[in-house]
């Protein structure tokens, strides 16, 4: 479903250059839940943001659902992005619109008529379990509730891929479990391919079917759990324990 081939990204500021991602290749199959872990500053967010080209790679290609995003026109890219949802650590809701107003945005942009719009909004608010807050403004909601709204907003255009950048990092453990359940449910119900960046190991062990470890801009491991299983904590500790000293690009399968 997602195929990154030798993507690199260097940030150039007035007095420095920093290579955030260095020739990374990654394949994520349809229906997988793929975790990306690694220490802060390793380049996880940059890598994730290259999947929908929020960050355009300096080199390499990004193929999603058989289409090469790096060679698309701006208009075509906007259309491609509509089949990819994204959620963030800080939710990024439009705070001057109500909950249902937020979820309606992607449908408004796609020109869907009002009646169908409000039905779809309700359907997805119901799916994330927050339909009773439809007319509230986001600032009145808890973090977990806001993230549910963000998930509904990302899903309402029925994407094939959901990109998650530390979606539970600002939430307490109990709320985290709730959000992870929603994400798992999405994956099972709609077959959405999920890529999730996290630094929390329990996120990986509770839902990921494949996982990559990033360090200093490189992917140093990619690991796939046995069919039908999620990554176990033993696998994870084995991967992270041998993290240093492993050749770049080496893979455990």
């Amino acid at each position: 479903m997602i195929s990154l081939h030798q993507v690199s990204k260097t940030f150039v500021t007035s007095n420095s250059r920093f290579q955030a991602v260095d020739a990374v290749s990654l394949d994520v199959g349809a229906g997988e839940i793929h975790g990306i872990i690694g220490s802060s500053g390793a380049g996880k967010s940059t890598l994730l943001r290259m999947i929908n080209l929020l960050e355009r790679p300096d080199e390499g290609t990004v193929i999603v659902d058989g289409e090469d995003l790096t060679s698309m026109t701006a208009k075509h890219l906007r259309e491609a992005r509509r089949s990819m949802g994204m959620i963030f650590q800080s939710f990024n809701l439009v705070n001057n619109r109500t909950v249902s107003g937020n979820v309606a945005i992607p449908l408004e942009m796609a020109g869907i008529p009002k009646k169908e719009r409000s039905e779809r909004v309700r359907e997805y608010l119901d799916f994330v379990g927050i339909v009773d807050k439809a007319d509230e403004y986001p600032s009145r909601l808890s973090g977990g509730q806001q993230q549910r709204v963000a998930i509904a907003r990302a899903l309402v255009s029925r994407p094939k891929v959901l990109l998650c950048d530390e979606p539970t990092s600002s939430l307490d453990p109990q709320t985290t479990i709730g959000i992870l359940d929603v994400l798992k449910h999405i994956n099972r119900t709609f077959g959405v391919t999920v890529v999730i960046v996290t630094h929390e190991m329990n996120v990986v062990t509770s839902m990921c079917t494949t996982v990559s470890v990033m360090e200093n801009g490189s992917l140093i491991h990619t690991f796939k759990a046995d069919k039908g299983n999620t990554i176990s904590s033993e696998d994870l500790s084995r991967m992270t324990a041998t993290q240093t000293g492993v050749k770049v690009g080496e893979t455990y399968v």
């Binding site: 929020l54 509509r82 994204m86 001057n96 945005i105 942009m109 255009s157």
Partner: protein, 220 residues
């Protein structure tokens, strides 16, 4: 004293009408042209969506030049332009031209500042949803910045009223001109004080209404 002032009632109403016309046209100019110019300043700024050094530098300098021009000199300097636009350089409509130019520059800067306060994350979310530039502006930027845009318009309107008081020099009239002609030049101090009170009430009312609306619009 009241009777004394009442004898000028029709002149006062007329002057208020002229002020409303000049300020009204300036507000319209601020909205129709200042808002897009401010948006363009924001979009072309370093690190923003359409970073464009040349366009940003041109707009930025234009806005700064207009804003730093002593206003009376701007009015005089623009006389040929005013004549070109409305056919005459004299009268209330003509006076609205330099006032509108100032209004565009003034409000565009406040628009730029309000838009800069929109969190980057919201813009990112918009991009990730495949928003076009127009959708980004209308559905995200203006929605999140709307209380700042409203407050900016309030501040601007009050400045336009202040600028409009000197429009007597090109026959623009207005309550400022009325106060100068009757209150100052004819030594009718009561008239002067009365018009100052009218202006104070007007400015207070605008500030109160603007702040109230900004508060109602702000759900953040």
């Amino acid at each position: 004293m009241f009777d004394y002032i009442m004898q000028y009632q029709s002149e006062i109403w007329h002057a208020i009408g002229e002020t409303f016309m000049m300020v009204g046209i300036s507000i319209a100019a601020a909205l129709v042209l200042g808002l897009p110019v401010g948006t363009l300043l924001y979009l072309c700024r370093k690190g923003q969506m359409y970073e464009n050094r040349v366009l940003f530098a041109i707009l930025n300098i234009l806005v700064n030049v207009v804003r730093s021009f002593p206003f009376l000199l701007l009015v005089v300097f623009l006389i040929p332009f005013t004549r070109f636009v409305v056919g005459t350089a004299i009268g209330t409509l003509a006076a609205s031209v330099p006032l509108s130019i100032m209004a565009i520059a003034y409000y565009s800067r406040l628009v730029e500042q309000s838009l800069l306060e929109v969190p980057k994350g919201v813009i990112e979310a918009a991009s990730s949803m495949g928003a076009s530039t127009l959708q980004m502006i209308v559905k995200f930027l203006y929605v999140e910045a709307r209380s700042g845009l409203m407050l900016g318009l309030t501040t601007s309107t009050i400045s336009f009223i202040s600028y409009s008081t000197v429009m007597g020099i090109v026959g623009g009239g207005g309550i400022g001109d009325f106060a100068i002609r009757y209150g100052y030049q004819r030594f009718e101090t009561e008239i002067m004080i009365f018009t100052i009170i009218i202006m104070l009430i007007l400015v207070q009312a605008i500030q109160y209404t603007g702040s109230f609306m900004a508060r109602v619009l702000d759900k953040r």
